[in-house]
């Protein structure tokens, strides 16, 4: 089982904050890989919040291919972090040419387009790069979105941090999500590493998704460009979140109702039973059967955690005003917010959704039994 750690803080933090927390949960992951999702960026990247930022790994040829393609589309580079390792990589990490994070100005002809349209074109560009890169493995692209950086690599999280000197690259962010990988399928593919990302939404999960095949079939048959890939059975959790929010315009409290709907007899006594029943019916193929703990982040920088309908995975949330941590284990919280009031630590159970908004004032909790409001 993998270990998950996420932090949302008013002050920007360096990536190693999360990687150190993963390290104390070492019993639960085998150091076979790490994934990082950073958003609400700090430092000089504050200035580029309105610029789409590309994150990925490129061979030297891949970098040339990238430039060719991006220039032909009319993107102009604004700033970048380019890491070209010169040392031998740590055990378990392959030698790569370039780790790249680059902020772009959008093509001038896009400037009059709606945000939705631009968002779609950014996704299209990422998918194109990913597609092109798959052929010769010259390009691996994790994200291309505003105010988001991502990194995925195989090997030990802390060793990778040292190897790439992540903390001294001017990278910091107010939100970090990190997963320490427990390798259960031996062919490690970077696209199979958590967290997963689509258009500002990101989630990471531990546990096996037993309902993967029908969910994948359903998402793929939505004919939405980004619903593809699925090198990992957990990628669907991100796409379900995106589908619920962007296609169905359903807010976060509904996510839990889609992936783990209340049972029919429970629904009978719910104040919103009509709409919930309709959602349960129409989204039937999206029901996850667990066991999974999902930690995710929305485009508005709200961080949340939900559990499967039996709560078969560990997960705890705690912190203080200005800094909250979502983690697989208590010890993850202890490393990053030791000063918090531990009595307020909360382990979401099978009906709960917990979240911390971008204001970082408190942990909000909803039970699935509560009344909901439908946005228009």
């Amino acid at each position: 089982m993998c270990r998950l750690f996420a932090v949302t803080s008013s002050e920007p933090l360096v990536p190693s904050t999360a990687l150190k927390a993963l390290d104390v949960m070492r019993e639960g992951h085998d150091g076979s890989g790490v994934g990082l999702f950073l958003t609400d960026l700090g430092g000089r990247w504050e200035d580029y919040k309105n610029l789409p930022t590309l994150s990925g790994i490129f061979s030297d040829d891949g970098l040339r291919e990238l430039d060719e393609l991006m220039i032909s589309k009319g993107f102009r580079c604004e700033d970048e972090v380019l890491i070209r390792p010169t040392f031998e990589p740590p055990v378990g990490t392959p030698k790569r040419d370039n780790y790249l994070i680059r902020a772009y100005n959008i093509p001038t002809e896009w400037e009059d387009l709606s945000q939705k349209n631009i968002g779609f074109r950014l996704l299209e560009t990422r998918m194109k790069l990913r597609q092109q890169g798959l052929a010769n493995e010259a390009m691996t692209v994790f994200s291309f979105w505003y105010d988001v950086m991502m990194l995925k690599e195989t090997g030990d999280p802390l060793a990778i941090n040292d190897y790439l000197s992540l903390d001294s690259q001017g990278i910091s962010s107010r939100i970090i999500m990190a997963q320490g990988r427990q390798n259960t399928n031996y062919a490690i593919n970077l696209y199979a590493c958590h967290p997963f990302f689509i258009q500002g939404f990101s989630t990471m999960t531990n546990g096996e998704n037993t309902a993967f095949v029908p969910i994948r079939e359903y998402l793929m048959s939505r004919n939405f460009l980004g619903y593809t890939g699925y090198q990992s059975d957990s990628e669907v959790f991100t796409h379900i979140l995106h589908y619920a929010q962007n296609q169905l315009c359903l807010g976060l409290p509904f996510y839990k109702h889609i992936i783990t709907p209340l049972m029919d007899n429970e629904l009978e006594s719910h104040p919103n039973r009509e709409i919930l029943k309709l959602i349960k019916h129409s989204c039937r193929p999206l029901v996850i059967d667990g066991p999974n703990c999902i930690i995710g982040c929305l485009p508005d920088k709200t961080m949340f955690m939900v559990q499967d309908s039996k709560k078969l995975r560990p997960g705890v949330v705690g912190g203080r005003v200005g800094k909250f941590v979502f983690s697989s284990e208590e010890c993850g919280l202890d490393v990053v917010v030791p000063e918090r009031n531990k009595h307020l630590d909360f382990q979401p159970m099978k009906y709960d959704t917990v979240c911390v908004s971008a204001q970082r004032e408190k942990v909000e909790k909803w039970s699935q039994w509560e009344a909901l409001t439908l946005q228009n």
Partner: protein, 544 residues
């Protein structure tokens, strides 16, 4: 020497028959029960003559004959009294004096059952015990990668949906802006398929209805049953139990006069309406209720005269094309209940299934599609139709499901599979295999007749006289002397037992696969089979 009598082409000896009766004179106490119970009068309890040659010991005395008689059983060999192997004679014999055995080689009688140019007709099943569904295994077990679920401890929700489901995007739009949302029923995924009152005896029908009502009202299992084409008794029509019933309309429209007339008095909506276009056992052939079974009650419910055979034509005669047949029928049936009741067609498995499916996808009122595979049973059909016509259900349902997936409609139009599910007793395994291949629910018929009422029919041509109204178990007969053998309460009790045990077995399958709260429809990654060609055809894994 006595003459052997005339020997003509169709004169058969017991050795030429499928079944042979062995009778033990020593044990027989001549009670006559076997002859009384035999549905086909295959046994002669008669006085038989026997010569004893008496040879004296002396030289001068001449041998003499003593002609004596004895009473005993003799198996008839003429074609109209062929033993059907039902075994009722064995069942009733108090002294175990009679034994029914299958002849060691293939019978010769089959070549002769076409007297007068009439091919063999029978009821029952396809007479082929092979089952692909039995060969499918569940191979994707969550081992250590996950805490497996516990069938006995965890909460499960085993439900499926019947009715047209609106895509989530449209559903949200309708919720916000208003519009028509089709009716959808939450039901138990195992349902009792269509068997009409007429094909079934009143006791059998009543027993099934009582069992289903008990499951719903006492066990909280929303099990439903389809009426078959034959109408519905007036009291049931006007009762609250109607909601557990799927009313079937087929090409003979039997009973629908009564149903439509009763509409103003009907208090509960039925669960759904099934429009039967075909039956897996005899695709392309209509229904047939032989005159023997059309007594006063059946005639009244169906709105026909007594004592005449009731054929339903192979097609709905008033319609001439798929658009007509499907769209108009669905629309009119929906209209009858003011669009509050799901309406769906049932067809026989066929290579043309996809054409029907594509048509239904475009019809927003179609509430599902039931497909009946070649292994389905029937009350009466030509032998050739039963044995050689039809399409296996597994590949048909898989094709249909994958076709829906391609169109993104897999959740919108639920598929129901039937035909040979549990034919060798493996009900839960067969049902789950079909669900994981893409079915939303399963219809059973023969299984329930065997398990709930003790039907003795088999896949090797045992009994199968369901068409003649002489069912020795009283299941498919309208003769009160026969159906009083079947106590409706006992049938109901068995129905409850069957569903409860099915439910447990189902959990024993899905829990180790890590599923509990949603039916694993289309979870094909869980399936494996040791037949490479079948694995490829069904897109499941090949395991050896």
């Amino acid at each position: 020497m006595e003459s052997v009598g005339s020997i003509n082409p169709s004169k058969l000896s017991p050795k030429d028959l499928l079944w042979r009766i062995l009778w033990d004179k020593e044990k027989c106490r001549l009670c006559g029960r076997c002859t009384a119970v035999c549905p086909v009068q295959a046994l002669d309890l008669g006085v038989q003559r026997k010569r004893v040659v008496n040879i004296a010991l002396g030289i001068t005395e001449t041998p003499s004959n003593v002609y004596g008689i004895f009473h005993g059983i003799r198996q008839k060999t003429d074609l109209s009294h062929l033993c059907v192997g039902c075994g009722m004679c064995e069942l009733v014999c108090p002294n175990r004096a009679i034994l029914v055995v299958r002849n060691e080689e293939m019978d010769k009688a089959r070549f002769h059952i076409n007297e007068g140019g009439n091919p063999r007709r029978r009821g029952g099943r396809r007479n082929n015990p092979a089952s692909l569904l039995d060969a499918i295994k569940f191979t994707r077990i969550s081992m250590l990668t996950d805490p497996a679920l516990d069938a006995g401890r965890h909460e499960f929700e085993v439900r499926t949906l019947l009715g047209r489901l609106i895509p989530a995007e449209d559903m949200m739009k309708i919720t916000r802006e208003g519009g028509y949302l089709p009716p959808v029923r939450e039901i138990y995924p195992l349902m009792i398929g269509s068997m009409s009152l007429g094909a079934l005896s009143p006791n059998m029908w009543e027993g099934l209805q009582m069992g289903v009502a008990y499951l719903n009202e006492e066990m909280k299992m929303p099990v439903v049953i389809c009426s078959g084409e034959g109408g519905c008794p007036p009291k049931l029509l006007r009762s609250r139990f109607l909601r557990y019933l799927i009313l079937q309309i087929a090409s003979g429209y039997f009973g629908w006069d009564e149903i439509l007339r009763a509409l103003p008095e009907i208090k509960e909506d039925p669960c759904a309406i099934e429009i039967k276009y075909g039956q897996g056992a005899k695709p392309g052939d209509g229904g047939l209720l032989m005159w023997h079974k059309v007594n006063q009650m059946i005639a009244a419910i169906r709105g026909v005269p007594m004592g005449i055979s009731l054929p339903s034509p192979p097609t709905h005669q008033t319609k001439y094309s798929i658009e007509e047949a499907v769209a108009k029928m669905i629309q009119s049936m929906s209209m009858a209940w003011d669009f509050r009741v799901p309406v769906y067609p049932k067809i026989s498995g066929s290579t043309t299934t996809l054409a029907v499916l594509n048509n239904l996808v475009r019809n927003p009122y179609a509430g599902g599609l039931a497909i009946d595979g070649e292994d389905g049973g029937t009350g009466a059909a030509y032998n050739v139709s039963m044995d050689s016509m039809g399409h296996p259900i597994a590949s048909n349902i898989r094709d249909a499901y994958l076709n829906l997936v391609k169109m993104g409609k897999q959740n919108e139009l639920p598929l129901f599979a039937g035909g040979g599910v549990g034919k060798n007793g493996n009900l839960a395994a067969n049902a789950l295999a079909l669900i994981m291949l893409g079915a939303s629910g399963i219809q059973i018929g023969k299984y329930i007749m065997q398990a709930a009422a003790g039907c003795v029919g088999s896949e090797t041509d045992r009994c199968n006289v369901c068409n003649l109204g002489i069912c020795p178990k009283g299941i498919t007969s309208q003769d009160p002397r026969l159906y009083r053998r079947l106590n409706p309460d006992d049938v109901a009790q068995r129905v409850v037992d069957i569903f409860l045990s099915f439910d447990q077995e189902l959990k024993k399958i899905i829990a180790p696969l890590g599923r509990s709260t949603s039916l694993p429809i289309g979870m094909s990654d869980a399936l494996g089979i040791s037949d490479e060609a079948a694995a490829r055809r069904l897109s499941i894994s090949y395991v050896v």
